[in-house]
Structure formats: C-alpha cells, structure tokens
C-alpha cells in the first residue's frame, strides 16, 4: 500500500469505511456450505441447506460454544487466553441445576431449596462464572503470570469443584420453569431455540461494546501495544480484570444454558468447550497475538464449526474423521491468519 505517498499534494483527510474483514470469513462459510450442498446431492441425494430443521440445529449445537466464544474473543484481543471456560460451564451447570430442582426429587441437593423461581438458579450460576473470571483476571493483572497458566489453574480447579459439589453425582429432575431456557419457539414457522437467541443477543451486545465504547477501544489498545496503552493513561490491570470477569460471566451463562438444555447438571459438562471457543474466535479472524478481532467474525467462526459438524454428520462421515478434519481446518485457519498479519506488516 502506498497511499501515504499519493496524498503529498493535497491534505484532505477523510474517514472512510473499509470493507469489514469478516467478509472473507463469511465467504469461507458460504464456500463450505456450498461444498456440503454439492456433496449432499452427489453422495446422499439430498439438499444440505434446504432443511429448516437442520439450519436451526446447526446454530443450536454451537450456541453454547458461541456464548463462551464471545467472552474468549475479548480475552484474546487483549493478548491473553482463557482455558477455564469449559470447566466453568461444568461447575455452573452443577450449581444452577442444584438450585432448580423440583420437590419431586427425593434426593435433591438442597431439599429445602426446591421449586424455587428459576431466577435464583440463574443468578447463582452467573455469580459463580463471574467470580471465576474475576479470579482469572486478578491473577493475570496482579501477579503478571501468563494468562495461559492462570486460566489453566482455574480450568483444573473448577472442574474439581464441579465434581466435589455432589461428589460426582449428576443433578437431575429440574423444574420446567428452568429448562424453559433450553426450549425452542416457532418464529414464522422457523424453529428458533432460546439458546440461539441468547447467543445472538450476547453477540450483538458485545459487538457494540467492542466497537463503540471506551471499554472496547481500551481492549484493543491493550492487546495492540500494552506499553503504549499504559503511556496513553490506560489502567491495564483494572481493565484486564473487567475483560476476564466478562469472559467468566459469559461462561457462567453458557453453563446455565447447558443445564437448562440437558435438564440436568453433570460434572463432566463442557469438557474441551474452551478449545472450540478459541477455535471459533481464531477462525473468525481474532489474532492470538492480540489487538485484532471482532465478535461478528467470531459468530461466523462459530457457525463454521457448527456447519462442519452438521455437514459431516449429514454426509455420514464417521465421528473419527470429523475430528481429524476439524483439527486440520483449525490449524489452516491460524496459518492463513498469520500470513494475513505478515502481509500487513510488510505493507
């Protein structure tokens, strides 16, 4: 790019909008969908896309990952990473479920706390997630240990807590008012599950927060150049705590949704979700070196993960092959991301 030379004469500076970087990722999504469509007609003799049920399930399957990924994207933009999301989902699912049981259950975790309004289960779940994120953020900000280690510790401990909570027993028989949050509704004949609505709502909120608020600007600044951010007067420590706390809160929300959908809490819930969430962010264009990324890209990245899973199942590809190919696609996405960054540096 040599635009800076052109303008030597005139000094008219505009503020023009460029094509957002998600366009290329969206292209990838459409490309993958088309490939499945064509392969579908050839191999299975059916359309991949012309199936409302399937389209709805694609997003439903990844909505929990998507909610987590919205938080993880913000952490990665600051130059960090959050490995604890999956374990927090498990822990929160246990806590929320234990407060949403019906009195029909003779072995409820808290026999005196049954048949309550679902609000308590939800609030408790969110609080646990927020606390976990707050601890992550404080560790990263105050002790300056690498985020990888801080959140790895939380990942192990939160999983342990989830198992200890009921000594490994699942928490079942949840109140209908709570499991309602995992249900679907018909919107203009299109089955729209509530988890998907929650995911999209969260995505919109944080897309706006990152793009249009001071919180967002500072998040990018810290990831782009922490030293320059500090000299620009940004309090890096307190901002990082905010970002990790938000990521924890969203993991908590994902845990609540998971429990509601499954109508139970199990200590093994959410295993390896953090990796899918990171993958979704990275596929969506978030750079692991920080400073770059957008929620809209992450949403597309999440949907790509969903399309892959759904498409492979549709084509009756075995589960083992699915994982193998998924791994390759994630690595390929990061390679492309890095080349894109190198080009930017050379420009």
């Amino acid at each position: 790019m040599s635009t800076n030379e052109i303008a030597g004469s005139a000094n008219v500076i505009r503020s023009k909008k460029r094509l957002p970087p998600e366009v290329s990722i969206l292209g990838v999504l459409i490309g993958i969908a088309i490939v499945f469509e064509i392969l579908g007609w050839i191999l299975v003799g059916d359309s991949f896309l012309a199936n409302k049920q399937r389209l709805s399930i694609i997003i439903l399957q990844v909505s929990v990952i998507g909610i987590i990924s919205v938080g993880v994207t913000q952490v990665i933009i600051t130059g960090g990473v959050d490995l604890s999301s999956g374990s927090v989902v498990g822990l929160v699912a246990m806590v929320a479920a234990s407060l949403a049981q019906t009195s029909a259950n003779p072995r409820a975790v808290y026999p005196s706390l049954t048949d309550m309004s679902p609000i308590w289960a939800i609030l408790a779940g969110l609080a646990v997630g927020l606390a976990a994120g707050f601890i992550n953020g404080t560790l990263v900000a105050k002790t300056k240990i690498p985020p990888f280690i801080a959140t790895l510790g939380m990942m192990v401990s939160a999983r342990g807590l989830a198992k200890w909570y009921t000594l490994g027993q699942p928490v079942a028989l949840l109140d209908d008012s709570f499991t309602w949050f995992g249900k679907s509704f018909n919107v203009f004949g299109f089955p729209l599950p509530l988890p998907v609505i929650i995911f999209l709502l969260v995505a919109v909120i944080f897309h706006i927060a990152l793009g249009y608020t001071r919180y967002g600007k500072f998040t990018y600044a810290i990831g782009a150049n922490p030293q320059a951010a500090r000299v620009s007067g940004i309090n890096i420590g307190s901002h990082l705590i905010k970002v990790y706390a938000i990521a924890g809160l969203l993991s908590g929300l994902a845990g609540v949704v998971t429990a509601a959908r499954a109508a139970s809490g199990q200590p093994g819930m959410g295993v390896a979700y953090e990796l899918d969430a990171i993958a979704a962010a990275v596929i969506g264009g978030t750079s692991l070196s920080g400073g770059v990324g957008r929620i809209s890209g992450t949403v597309i990245g999440t949907i790509i993960l969903g399309v892959l899973t759904s498409g492979f199942t549709f084509l009756k590809v075995g589960a083992y092959y699915q994982e193998i190919i998924k791994g390759i696609i994630i690595v390929a996405a990061v390679i492309i991301d890095q080349q894109r960054q190198n080009r930017r540096k050379k420009a």
């Binding site: 635009t3 000094n11 008219v12 500076i13 249009y212 600007k217 990018y220 150049n225 000299v231």
Partner: protein, 512 residues
Amino acid sequence: MQSTSTMEAAPAGGAAVDGGYLLEVENVRKEFPGVLALDNVQLKLKRGSVHALMGENGAGKSTLMKIVAGIYTPDSGTFKLRGEDIKLRGPLDALEHGIAMIHQELNLMAPMTVAENIWIRREPLTKLGFVDHGEMHRKTADLFKRLNIDIDPDVQVGTLTVASRQMVEIAKAVSYESDVLIMDEPTSALTEREVDHLFTIIRALRAQGKGIIYITHKMNELFEIADEFSVFRDGKYIATKLSHEVTRDEIIRMMVGREITQMFPKEEVPIGDVVMSVKGLTLKGVFSDVSFDLRSGEILGIAGLVGSGRSNIAETIFGVTPADAGTIDLFGKPVRIDSPSTAMRHGLAFLTEDRKETGCFLLLDIQENTQMAVLQSGYVKNGFVKQKQLTKDSVEISSLLRVKTPDMSEPIINLSGGNQQKVLIGRWLLTKPKILILDEPTRGIDVGAKAEIHRLISKLAGQGVGVIMISSEMPEVLGMSDRIMVVHEGRVTGFLDRAEANQVKIMELASH
C-alpha cells in the same frame, strides 16, 4: 586484581606488535531509508592496539561497528582483514573470520551454565555423540585462567552480575580465537573496580596482539585504555589520532565542530509563571536529586548522552516509573504522580522516545491511534464513544499537523516515521495538555517533517504550553530551547541559557 605479568608474558600467537594493519575499512557508505548513516568512512585497526571510536549520538559509530561485525552490509567500500579483501556474509561469518562483537545488550542465555554459553554450537562431544561436560568444564577453566577471570564455569549465567556476564562474553569472544574484538560501551554498567578488572583483561588481550575496537562516550577511559582513536560526526569520518597527542578540548571540538546550518523556527514568546516545579526527584540507581522549574511558554531542553538518565526523568515525571523521592508541584500545588493517567489528569502529555515500543498501536489505524489518549477524559458518554465528534476533531488535528494520508482508516504501520510521529503528537494535542514532554520528537524523521514539528513545538509554546524537550541532536537542543538542562550519569550537571549555550559547553557538562 592480581598481577598481569603472567598474562602479558603469554605467547602472542604469532601476532607480533609490528604496526601492520589488522583491519582496514575504507570508503564505507551506508544508507538507510531517508538517512545517510555513513558517508565515506574509514577505520584502520593495528594489531596489538586499542582503538577508540568517538562521536556524538548518531555520529555513525554503531553503524560502522555493525558493518565490521557483519550485521550490516555496507552499500559500498573496501574491507581488508589481515591484508586480504573479504566480504562478510553475516555475524557468524565475521566470527569465523576472527571478528567478535561484545554486545551492549548481552546475548547470553540466562538459564544455561557459563560453560554451555561459551561453547554453544561447538560443544565438545564424547564418542557416543553426547555433550562431554567434563571436557567443556576443563576448556572453560583453561580459558578463564588465561584471562584471569574467576567465575565458576558450571554456574547459571542468570545468577551472575552484569560485570561477570560481560567477562563471560569477552571470554566467549576470545574462545573463537578472534583477532578483532569489538566492545560497545563495555563499562556502562560496571563499577569502578570492575572497570579496572576489565581494563586489565583488555591490556592482556592487546599484549597478545589482538586488535580491540572500543566505543565509549567517556573521555577519561579514552586516555586510560586507548592507544588511538577515530572521531566521527554526522556519519562522516573526521580524523584518527594517537590518544596521548591530544587534549580533551581538542577532542570535544572534533566531535561537535560543526556550525548550525539548519534553521530553527523558534519564535520569541513571552514566558509566564512557573507551571511545574521539580525538586530532588530521585529514582534509585537511575537518577538522583533532579530539580528544575518549567514556566509556561518556555521550552526547556534536556541534553545528555544516551543512558545519562534523560528519558528516565521524563518517564518518572509522567508516572511511568514513579519516583522514589522528591516532589513535583504543578501550578503551585504539590501532586503525587503514580501513573500516566494521574499525570494526564493534571494536564501533562508525554511523547515517548520509542515510537514502535511505547508509541504506536501498529495494528490499529490512524483514527484509533489518534484518539486513544483522549478517551480517558473526554468524548465518552455513558461509556459510549462519541465517535462522530471525535473523528471530526481527529481529522482536523491531523490536517493541521499535515499527516500525509488519504484517510484515517489507514493502518498506522503504513505511514512513514515522520507521519507516525505527527499522529502521536496529534494524540497528545487532542488532550489539550498544559505541559508537554517530548522525548526525541524528531528522531529518525526527514528534514521536512522535522521543520514542521519544530514549528509546531514553537507554536504550542506561544500558546502558553510549557515544553520539555529531550534530544540527542545538539542543533535541535540549541535551536529550540529557551534553557538547557544537561544531565550526566543520572545527575543534573548544569543549566545553560539560550544566549550562552553552545555545543562545546553542553558537551563538557555531558561528559564530565
């Protein structure tokens, strides 16, 4: 240090002190984008001698050294080693030719042992291909004995003092049987006793017929250790002399002896009340007892050599590294500045020295780079950025500063250094500072942009802003400042008024 007589008696490896040139570099030219770093420069190094390189910051010493050490390739020039023409393909190639550089920033691997560091890539092996640690220890011990260094070869480098690490670096260079050793300000982090030890080793190496190129800013070291010296100025070779032939004053004159040819658009502006009063400011181990007043409309220049503590003083005033002692009064009131955001609340702004490291957000665009500092204090309502207004004002300030770009969404990385600097200045102007600290505001930018930035600084002073300007460029300091504070080794060594200041006076205060 024990007697060195045993070392001086050591065999000189056939390299008799015969006055023949070990290294001859002539007509060297090196251009970087926008800067002619070396213009027809020469250096002739004799066997068995210590040759000092002298010159101001930016004179071209380091560039020349990097060429000799194979780090840079010269654009043109001849390069003779032991009388033969050679062309170096890289630092490793230089090392294999017997040219070793001891870097200012030490290049050792802290978690590994001393012996492992010295013999890396050349580890003695057993018959089975494993590293022979016994042999490696023995070879290291031998080497240290030869140099009279007392360090345990098996200790981790990370546990050593800076001085000891430097000894290890030197031993490593010697272990390559290098004939040419380059030392770039080797004493900058050493105590007096450590310096004595270093000099003993240097003398021993000289006695063995090695040629040592020694970069220093310290005049007394020149007389103590160097046989010869060459002076450089603005990328040009000035002269080579024997060090016992000249006086200190003559050297200083050779180093600064240029007239101010550039014009500085400094306007005379009324100087107002004291806006900042610094008393006894101290950062342990870096600088101490710094006191000065700054008035509105005044440009206070801070001069001093690199590493004198100039930038650290600015960083401390701005709260990047809060002070250990001392007070700062702003507009007559004592304040405690413990972070940059506190400093900004009091109306300070700080353009840092290193555009890449602490200035630009290279991944972000011009608009985002411009607005980042002001978001602390304005253009935000209920957390939301008032982007329309902010963009309008950013565009306005960028136009005023003549940032050369067609639009604000251009990534800042695509701009030239001078334009990046203008964006960063714009960032601070948006915050409407009352006190502006500029650290090397025109480093590495072309003459045109330089003049524009000078005009701007002058204009801001005219509007009543108090300006502190740190600069390594003498003409800039002399041309722009109302008053100059000179710093040397973490202490203020004097103030010079605009009328009385000249290069020689500054240099004297700066090199004591």
